[in-house]
Amino acid sequence: MTGLPLRLRLHRAFLIALILGLWAPAKIVWELRIAHAQDRLRYQGVTLTRQLRDQLGQGLTIGVLSGMRSVVADFVWLEVTVAWENEEWFRMGGLINLCTALQPRSITFWDMGGWQLAWNASVAATKDLSLPNQLRREKASRFWIERGLAIYKRGIENNPENWRLWADTGSLYEQRLGDYRTAAYYFGEAAKRPNCPTFYERFPAIMYGYGDDDRASYEAWKALWERLTPAQRAEPRHESDRIEQEIKRLEQKLSIPKEKRVFPN
């Protein structure tokens, strides 16, 4: 190589510079377009920050840098299971945050993470005899429910089109907080999302019923009945018989005037 004449060296350098000079600007423009498309499609993911690197440790950071983000997230998730088995709730909470930061578009992490915190950790807190009294246990339980709720809500922010996280949040409000009105809202939102099981469309009305808000329940059943087309009403999965029965029952109970009833007879 050392013996290559200067003329040939210059010729080679010129050709390399020419190829790179032509390609480099086009490369940058192309990459920006790809990045823009990925932002638009919500695939931006997270940037490896110092905090994330410290939490992951050296080995897993190299994994992330090698494009093995999902595998690294799975390894961290296995640690979540271990922390759950050992009842190390704060550690588990931190690891769940780490998994969701690594893969914010993986529904499983949000779904299971919220469940681990709002159900497992909070139920364990109610049985924690190391706490001095029942009030403190209830407070601790509430703390974990709020953490679980925060996970679900951040999951929704990252994946607003996914029905499961809306339904999970609805279940949490219903089963853990007893807030049926808010549960009705979340179940209603879940039902609007693609691929959501049909029965969720009935949940808002049922939730209002649980909350003894018969008027809201009636309005929800009525809105559902009116939303269904005649063809949909004939489909068994929509359970139109049940909707009809509920509307009739509530019309009776609320003494709705005949002319305003959906089923006057």
Binding site: I16, V80, T81
Partner: protein, 353 residues
């Protein structure tokens, strides 16, 4: 032109044969196949105590992530090791002199060598993908069996219940296929329901449990038979071929295989941070000095954006990635490859051997 193409193919075929005979690559491939297949075992570590659908979701995610991770990791190792040896080995064995003494251009030699490695990587990816497919199939069988056991435990005589609901669904479909006005159809459906209600005491419960079962099985099959997984494997392959191109370029001026391996690995890692470098370069805030900006700009202009290919994670997480976007990435990889090959040819053409 055809003669040139023929020479490239012949060199490529020989390179592939030589590579297949190498024990290191065979051992790597065996490890890869074992790892892909063992992803099924790793999935057993998923959180126990969940509902059937949740547990299976987690297991399927593990199998997909570990399977594709293994394809990427071992594919990278195979691509890198085989490319790094291409030119140094020819020089060491002095076989390059015999080949280039014949009417074979250096560019043909280089392209032939590259073709051989591409075929090798394609073969390895195809084998690993087959193992991955089998792992997924096994996961599906396991998942459906698990759903059967869960629902079987919930409803006594579950198989008979399923048969009855299927019979009902067939009759309901016939009623709906007849058409007619919706009121008459509703009446017919009610009559049909009544008929089955008389045969089965908890008919609504039966229908619900079968609906839940179908939904869970559909969810399992939907995740496993996801056609987007083909997109994921293609994107992994494109990334591997880009890595091969980089390694080939470095090996045209490198004096040892180790240098090629280490440098390519570093470029691969930097490639995953190229988007960050590009963003900082474009922002050029007060906190970035002119030297830092210059370095980041230099890296952004030269290093490929490997991070864009992590979109594979989105596919594995079950998110929809349009084919148009995947094709855009594949196009980017191909054009980048052409540039890398052009540079390799220029450098190799002028290299003193």
């Amino acid at each position: 032109m055809i003669a040139s193409l023929y020479r490239i193919i012949v060199i490529g075929r020989n390179t592939l044969t030589e590579a297949v005979r190498q024990k290191v690559l065979s051992v790597l491939l065996i490890f890869a196949l074992v790892l892909v297949a063992s992803s099924v075992l790793v999935s057993q570590l998923a959180t126990p105590g969940l509902d059937a659908a949740g547990l299976i979701d987690e297991q399927i995610k593990f199998v997909k992530d570990f399977g594709c991770g293994a394809i990427g990791l071992f594919g990278f190792a195979i691509a890198l090791l085989s490319t790094a040896q291409l030119i140094p080995q020819e020089l060491h064995n002095r076989t390059i002199y015999t080949i280039l003494a014949k009417p074979v251009r250096r560019s043909e030699f280089l392209l032939g060598k590259f073709l051989g490695v591409v075929l090798l990587v394609a073969l390895a990816v195809a084998l690993m993908s087959t193992a991955f497919g089998l792992s997924l199939y096994w996961e599906e069988v396991k998942g459906v069996a698990y759903a059967d056991s869960v629902y079987g435990g919930m409803a006594p005589h579950f198989p008979q219940v399923v048969d009855k609901v299927r019979q009902y669904e067939a009759e309901a479909a016939q009623v709906q296929a007849h058409g007619g006005d919706s009121a008459a159809q509703t009446q017919e459906m009610r009559a049909l329901d009544e008929k089955y209600r008389l045969q089965e005491t908890n008919w609504e419960g039966c229908k619900n449990v079968v609906e839940d079962y179908d939904r869970d099985v559909g969810r399992i099959q939907g995740q496993i038979r996801d056609p987007q997984l083909i997109e994921a494997v293609l994107l992994i392959f494109a990334k591997l071929i880009m890595t091969t191109g980089i390694a080939l370029l470095i090996s045209t001026f490198a004096t040892s295989s180790i240098f090629t391996i280490v440098t390519t690995f570093m470029i691969y890692l930097i490639g995953h941070l190229e988007s960050v470098a590009r963003d900082v370069w474009f922002q050029r805030g007060a906190e970035v000095s002119i030297w830092q900006s210059g370095l980041l700009g230099f890296l952004s202009l030269l290093i490929p954006d490997m991070n864009s290919f992590t979109i594979v994670d989105e596919i594995l997480a079950g998110n929809h990635v349009p084919w148009s976007h995947a094709l855009n990435l594949l196009g980017y990889a191909n054009v980048y490859l052409v540039v890398l090959l052009a540079l390799s040819i220029v450098i190799f053409d002028y290299r003193e051997i």
